[in-house]
């Protein structure tokens, strides 16, 4: 079952000064129900732009995006998003951050509390309900951001390099946590990274993008058994896939430099 579909999507920016920027060129992409889809690509190839298109935060210049067959025209809570930058509301404590979407959606207090309890527990932040973001580490903030997106029960979870700013140990822990949560929640995920290990460890399918203007260069199926753990990184199957993706990206990185 196709969940998300991008059909020949082109995105061009027209900056106030300078030439137009062709960020995405004729991108077609399908993500199945409950699939964990990953996009990798060289820096500046339009990965974030692609995610923002799906979120409805920008409009494509040409082409169509549909979720469950319904065209995406604006942002909505059916597409939850986790950003690379820390985007918690600093004036709300952990619980109120997680309940933000529920509160503006008019969900009654007892139900909100029930839901936030559940997701705060899922991300392992029990006991931090009344902490403010400034008291949390980067990894904790991203866990709250994840809980906040999940609390809205979105159809698809969009993640833009959510662990990019974390140190490598924290990142590994976050990857395992995300895999666990994904397994429980059975959400469809569209995940962006430039970390190839992360892409292979998490994804059912990895879409490799070309340097700007971004196109989908290749789809790589990751048929590694689940549940997966970080120790998979040293297995021969993993390394074989990694070599292949690295080759694809390397060509693009070189092309981008020229």
């Amino acid at each position: 079952m196709t969940k998300l579909k991008l059909d020949k999507v082109t995105l061009e920016f027209f900056p106030r000064t300078g030439a137009p920027v062709l960020a995405l060129d004729d991108v077609s992409l399908e993500v199945g129900e409950q699939e964990f889809a990953v996009i990798v690509g060289p820096s500046g190839c339009g990965k974030s732009s692609l995610l923002r298109l799906v979120a409805g935060l920008v409009e494509p210049t040409r082409g169509a995006i549909t979720l469950d067959g319904i065209p995406v025209t604006r942002p909505g809570k059916d597409r939850g998003m986790v950003f690379q930058s820390y985007t918690l509301f600093p004036w709300l404590d952990v619980r109120n951050n997680v309940e933000f979407g529920l509160r503006i959606g008019g969900i009654p207090a007892d139900k909100r509390r029930h839901i936030s309890d559940h997701f705060i527990k899922e991300v392992g932040l029990e006991g931090f309900e009344s902490a403010y973001p400034k008291q949390l580490s980067g990894g904790m903030m991203q866990r709250v951001a994840l809980a906040r997106a999940l609390a809205n029960d979105p159809e698809i979870l969009l993640m833009d390099e959510p662990f990019g700013a974390l140190d490598s140990q924290t990142r590994s822990l976050m990857q395992e946590l995300l895999l666990q949560i994904w397994q429980h929640s059975q959400k469809t995920v569209l995940f962006i990274t430039h970390d190839i290990d992360e892409a292979i460890l998490l994804g059912d399918r990895v879409h490799v993008m070309t340097a700007r203007p971004g196109r989908i260069k290749e789809r790589v199926e990751i048929d590694l058994a689940r549940p997966r753990h970080v120790d998979l990184l040293t297995s021969p199957e993993f390394i074989a896939i990694k070599r292949r993706i690295m080759g694809l990206i390397h060509d693009e990185a070189v092309r981008a430099m020229r």
Binding site: G76, G80, F83, T87, W91, I104
Partner: protein, 268 residues
């Protein structure tokens, strides 16, 4: 060992022990006082140029006893608060709009930038012509002087609110109105409080200038009047009172910020 510690204190942006911090502050404070005593009691400077600390204190006691200090302080504080509050009421919402809505920026910013670079003192003759030399003139000077600075500063605060913060709100189901009221405005609060704190300090400058030009009460008037009679001790007193009031309001703003916005990171 000794050398290496001194070395550590000389590193940029590094914390130093609180005891060292306080010792340095106290030493400089006491030195300035000692220098003052030396110059005045030692007879190095004529007493009508530089009064002794005790003379200033005595002037203070006199001022309290004859009520002149209270009257003039109350007048100045009243004028400053009226002008400042009026300016803030207008500048905060407009500044937030200006920083986040291009259409508001287009409407307000050009005018603001023009007026902002006019020294408000240049407007005083015109204002006297328009509103006279009463309290209205002081309030207007403070209002104009503060408003346009606040507009620019608050607009900057609003402009610097991360657009990711707004975007994430949209993806959580917020509409535009909700994003403005529940995200943009709260996100600007720490910066707005800091702006008010800084501009209140500037407002004193405008007030004193306005009172120098034309007034029959207020701390600026008190200082100018003392100068006419060569009462240097009273000049010093007036200056000290303004400094003290500035210090107090600054601390009040700090307390307000800690109390109202405990979630905010430290102010600059």
């Amino acid at each position: 060992m000794h050398r290496s510690r001194l070395d550590a204190y000389a590193a940029p942006k590094k914390e130093i022990p609180r005891s060292v911090y306080l010792t340095v502050s106290a030493t400089v404070g006491v030195s300035v006082l000692l220098l003052w005593c030396l110059l005045s009691y030692g007879g190095f400077v004529r007493s009508d140029f530089l009064p002794t600390p005790v003379e200033v204190l005595r002037a203070g006691v006199d001022g309290i006893q004859d009520g002149s200090l209270a009257v003039n302080t109350a007048a100045s504080v009243g004028e400053i608060m009226s002008g400042f509050i009026l300016a803030s009421i207008l500048a905060v919402p407009l500044g937030i709009l200006m920083g986040s809505f291009k259409i508001a920026e287009a409407a307000i910013e050009p005018v603001t930038n023009f007026i902002r670079y006019l020294p408000v003192s240049a407007l005083i003759p015109l204002l006297i012509l328009w509103v006279g030399i009463g309290i209205e003139e002081k309030v207007t000077v403070i209002f104009i002087g503060t408003l346009f600075q606040q507009l620019i500063l608050v607009a900057d605060v609003s402009r610097n609110v991360s657009s990711d913060l707004l975007d994430v709100s949209y993806t959580l189901g917020a509409n535009r109105r909700t994003v403005v009221t529940r995200v943009l405005i709260p996100a600007t609060l720490p910066g707005v409080v800091d702006t008010l704190r800084v501009t209140l300090g500037w407002a004193w400058t405008y007030l004193v200038i306005a009172e120098f030009v034309a007034a029959n009460k207020g701390l600026g008037y008190f200082i100018l009047n003392s100068e006419r009679g060569l009462f240097t001790d009273r000049i010093f007193l007036g200056i000290a009172v303004i400094g003290l009031l500035g210090l107090i309001t600054d601390q009040l703003f700090k307390l307000l910020r800690d109390w109202l916005l405990p979630w905010a990171t430290e102010s600059r």
